[in-house]
């Protein structure tokens, strides 16, 4: 097939599967039906059955990929809308985000290194609690593999919403600030969707935590990677 037609076909396939899976998720609202998980799996299945290589798929896929950059810039808008909440709770939110990012980086590196995993894997795992588009860029910068990073980010997100509620209850984290920060700083967008089940304020805090984690993580992940001799 001509490259142009192939590109159009893979764009249509991706968007179509995404919309269908999103409808399914909106109807049933089970976390495992999140389109990021289901649509990705279906496309992987499609590629393996049709024997199409990833590079061939990306002839179309890269056009969708290009919207990641502006979408990250767009995170500034909810952050700006929540500026009152942010500035009224500046200390708890800033310190909480910083604590989360630093604990995530330190435990991620030390645990994975002590188990003898390669530097490439450790670097891919490092930005796991940061929203996928930013995590992929960070991973690439510190010598990791972006698509592995994206999958690790997804695993962290699901950990946050599956085990998170019990952890938060056990630690008596029950204020809007505590809950929102817990979900947003550890489980990014997936956690923010979960925080909405607690309330609008929890979700707002979580979305602020997610955006700030992405900013702090971009500064600190390369620094920690360097400190622990990954780069």
């Amino acid at each position: 097939m001509q490259p142009f037609l192939l590109a159009v076909f893979f764009i249509a396939l991706t968007v179509g599967i995404y919309f269908f899976m999103n409808l399914l998720y909106l109807k049933f609202h089970y976390s495992v039906l999140m389109p990021a998980l289901t649509a990705t799996s279906l496309i992987i299945l499609f590629l393996s059955f049709t024997d199409v290589s990833y590079n061939a798929y990306m002839v179309g896929g890269e056009w969708i990929d290009r919207l990641l950059g502006p979408a990250v810039v767009a995170l500034a808008i909810p952050l700006y809308k929540q500026r009152k909440l942010l500035f009224e709770n500046l200390m708890p939110i800033f310190t909480g985000t910083l604590a989360g990012v630093m604990i995530g980086l330190t435990t991620g590196i030390t645990l994975a290194k002590s188990l003898g995993f390669s530097d490439v894997l450790v670097s891919s795992l490092l930005p796991k609690s940061i929203t996928s588009p930013v995590a992929m860029e960070i991973a690439e910068q510190i010598g990791g593999i972006p698509s592995l990073a994206a999958v690790f980010v997804m695993i962290a997100g699901f950990t946050g919403i599956i085990i998170g509620p019990a952890v938060l209850r056990l630690l008596h984290i029950d204020t809007a600030i505590g809950l929102g920060m817990g979900y947003g700083a550890s489980a990014h967008g997936i956690g923010t969707a979960k925080a909405l089940e607690y309330g609008a304020r929890e979700a707002s805090v979580s979305s602020v935590a997610m955006s700030l984690s992405a900013i702090f993580g971009s500064f600190l992940a390369p620094l920690f990677a360097w400190l622990f001799h990954l780069i």
């Binding site: 991706t14 995404y18 649509a39 496309i43 992987i44 393996s48 798929y57 896929g61 969708i64 990929d65 919207l67 990641l68 950059g69 502006p70 979408a71 990250v72 810039v73 767009a74 995170l75 500034a76 808008i77 809308k81 708890p92 939110i93 310190t95 909480g96 985000t97 990012v101 630093m102 604990i103 995530g104 991620g108 645990l111 994975a112 995993f117 930013v134 960070i138 593999i145 698509s147 994206a150 690790f152 997804m154 695993i155 962290a156 950990t159 085990i163 998170g164 952890v167 938060l168 630690l171 204020t175 920060m181 817990g182 979900y183 947003g184 700083a185 550890s186 967008g189 900013i215 971009s218």
Partner: protein, 124 residues
């Protein structure tokens, strides 16, 4: 008309992304261009260089579809499936442990600090 406005707004957001990329390359800043763009956008809005409505609906649309945009990159995992075989399963244990510790750390710290500052406000 509405579609044109949306496209213009997304184009505007794209401009900030490009600006972030340029700054990154020009000054060798070790930050993703998109994050630089985010910081620039937040600063520009805070300084009221342009009103929120210039970017609001475009940003809302992009963020609503964010999961769609990272599907192609995530599909790239097909080339790395062997990572999760054998010892690789332990990576999932590391991810789970580290994520829980991150959640506990950020949740406890922020809740403690916000309670302390509220107690302070009531005293004064």
């Amino acid at each position: 008309m509405k579609l044109l406005v949306l496209l213009l707004q997304i184009g505007f957001l794209y401009g900030f992304f490009i600006l972030g990329q340029l700054l990154r390359e020009l000054f060798s800043i070790p930050l993703p261009g998109s994050i630089l763009g985010l910081i620039l956008m937040f600063t520009a809005l805070s300084l009221k260089l342009f009103p929120l409505r210039w970017v609001d609906s475009g940003a809302t649309l992009l963020l609503a579809f964010l999961p769609l945009f990272f599907i192609p990159a995530t599909v790239g995992i097909v080339d790395y499936f062997d990572v999760f075989t054998g010892k690789g399963v332990l990576l999932i244990v590391v991810l789970i442990l580290s994520t829980i510790l991150t959640m506990a750390g950020s949740g406890l710290t922020s809740q403690y600090l916000s309670r302390r500052s509220e107690a302070g406000k009531e005293l004064s």
